[in-house]
Amino acid sequence: MSAVATVIECRALSRRFRMGEGDVWALRNVDLSVESGEYLALIGPSGSGKSTLMNLLGCLDRPTEGRYLLDGAAVERLDDAELADVRNRKIGFVFQTFNLMARQTALENVALPLVYAGLSRAERRRRAGEALRRVGLEHRVDHRPDQLSGGQRQRVAVARALVTRPALILADEPTGNLDQATGREVLGLFDELHREGATIVLVTHDPKIAQHARRRIELVDGSVRADVRQPEASP
């Protein structure tokens, strides 16, 4: 078997926010490596820096200090347009609030990243249709978000995250707005994606949800407090 590729490589990553008086160090010297195919849960109390780290990993934000190699390429010095391109090709986001375009159909929502990738309309529709089939929504292609249930909306969002075949899927509290049953449904989808080889980082403060992941990182006060791996799959 060939060497496993490293998707995330963080070295002494820090993020400071400048406040009126005194700065806030939301992250301090975080070292983190995530290999391709890993399913990782990021846990920790409120305000511990989980979202801040996700934003850095997702190239939405830049570290104050430290290095970040994504899929082997340093990203901390990229300019704004280059970061947008990295997000476009390498990262799939799943948000707590779904964040779908209300006026567009499921297919158009899923195809949105491909618009910014510059793909033709036909190719966008083909790939978006495939991604929707992957999340089991091939029969809801032309529905708008307000015509879908919460769980279906989040599955559309997952399809949007998958459609570019990113190196990394980032999900910040993806079940936070769902009831338990639909939450489990979406988590089941992540499990499947993991089995198919996707690299997933999931933020949660619910230990039961964290059980789905093989590796758990606990942040406290902007630093990594624990990094636990478990060999076997949960329920």
Binding site: G58, L60, D61, A84, F95, M101, R103, Y116, A117
Partner: protein, 415 residues
């Protein structure tokens, strides 16, 4: 899961315009009533430009045709000085009238004209048997027909002898003939003009209307006969026609020179040429155009501010959407283009509504008032589109820049 990895979209390459327009139309449609109200300023601006420019265009070409009908070489001498020379002692307030004698002397001394016609015009009642009609009675000189470019269709013009003998002869316009004689032959009949008997010796060829005045609703008589009829010893004006277009300047100079000498060195008369009149009307038309431009500019500025305002609101409301687009790979330039296009689309919709509204007004006005010389032309359409596109770009710049400058993390967190 096996599809080729995505290529990086080349730097500087924007996403297709069609996509941007589609998103813009969607957003505009989603805010239907609000978008429509926003465009009101542009609608009114463009509609008023269309109406006023159509009218101005029509009036200009209408006047152009009318003046062309006068003949380019026509020279009109009128009593009184209408343009002050600016310096020198104030003119004595003796205004010498123009007379038939003036025109006779001019005819001898000014070789650059075809002829002169001293005309005395006044109102009068023309009657035949039990019918009568109030018309303009034009006392004209012998050379009038030639100078003025009119023709006696039936009968014959007045001779020098008719004028010298002050004969009460009349040549009638078509309208007058129709009203007084219906189908009867007017030649040789005696009519009354303001109580005096006149013999009808001719009928003019139809000439139509000129500046709203019916040239066929006239009774022509020898100028000497009007002197008797109106009890005057001066004329309304002296008409002349230059031998050629190039001779107009020379003719004006010669006429001025001769008349000034006859009038003891005073220029107490004014010589107009057809070009002068055209120039005056063009100046009026230009003034009108600037007023139109001012009105249009004001409403377009107001419209532009309205669009800018609503676009700023829209950017604010859609902060989250902007964050999501940035997260999935939109560059700042993509967001900038999106909102700029949206602003242009909103403005163009206003422009199209304004264009339709203005066109409707022009067409309805044309039906209600057929004599109204309004005309639509292609360049008005282009102007309307140009204006509204420009307003869209200008009012979209600030909101679009604001949208593009949003930080993705902040935008995604926005409630």
């Amino acid at each position: 899961m096996s599809a080729p990895a995505l290529e990086r979209r080349p730097a500087g390459r924007s996403i297709p315009l069609l996509e941007l327009v589609r998103v813009a139309l969607e957003a505009t449609a989603a805010n239907g009533a609000r978008s429509l109200l926003t465009t009101l300023g542009v609608v009114i601006g463009v509609a008023s430009v269309v109406v006023l420019v159509s009218l101005g265009d029509g009036v200009r070409s209408f006047l152009g045709e009318q003046f062309a009908g006068l003949g380019a070489d026509l020279i009109v001498v009128q009593p009184g000085h209408t343009e002050t020379s600016g310096f020198g002692p104030p003119l004595e307030n003796v205004q010498r009238p123009l007379t038939i004698a003036d025109s006779k002397v001019l005819a001898q001394r000014v070789p650059s004209v075809v002829g002169f016609s001293a005309d005395l015009v006044g109102g009068g009642t023309v009657s035949y048997l039990n019918r009568s009609r109030d018309v303009m009675v034009a006392g004209v000189g012998e050379r009038f027909w030639e100078v003025r470019g009119m023709r006696v269709e039936i009968g014959h013009p007045f001779s020098a002898d008719d004028e010298a003998a002050r004969r009460r002869y009349a040549i009638l316009g078509h309208t007058v003939v129709h009203e007084l004689f219906a189908d009867e032959n007017p030649l040789g009949k005696t009519i009354q003009i303001s109580g005096a008997p006149f013999l009808v010796v001719g009928v003019t060829a139809p000439k139509g209307r000129m500046l709203g005045f019916d040239l066929d609703d006239l009774a022509f008589v020898p100028v000497t006969a009007t002197e008797d009829l109106f009890n005057r010893d001066f004329v309304t004006e002296i008409l002349a026609k230059a031998r050629s277009h190039e001779d107009v300047g020379t003719a004006v100079a010669q006429i001025t020179d001769v008349l000034e000498r006859r009038h003891a060195g005073h220029q107490d008369f004014t010589v107009h040429t057809q070009q002068d009149l055209m120039g005056t009307f063009n100046r009026i038309a230009d003034t009108m155009a600037s007023v139109v431009l001012a009105i249009a500019s004001i409403s377009l500025v107001v419209g532009g501010i309205g669009i800018m305002n609503i676009m700023l609101v829209s950017v604010n409301e859609r902060t989250r959407e902007i964050g999501v687009r940035r997260a999935v790979g939109a560059r700042r330039s993509d967001i900038l283009a999106q909102f700029l296009i949206e602003s242009v689309v909103v403005s163009l919709i206003g422009g199209i509504i304004g264009l339709l509204l203005g066109t409707a007004v022009v067409l309805v006005a044309g039906l209600v008032l057929p004599s109204l010389p309004a005309r639509l032309s292609l360049w008005i359409v282009l102007l309307a589109f140009g204006f509204s596109a420009a307003v869209g770009v200008l009012s979209g710049v600030l909101p679009a820049r604001r949208a593009a400058s949003l930080d993705p993390v902040d935008a995604l967190r926005y409630e």
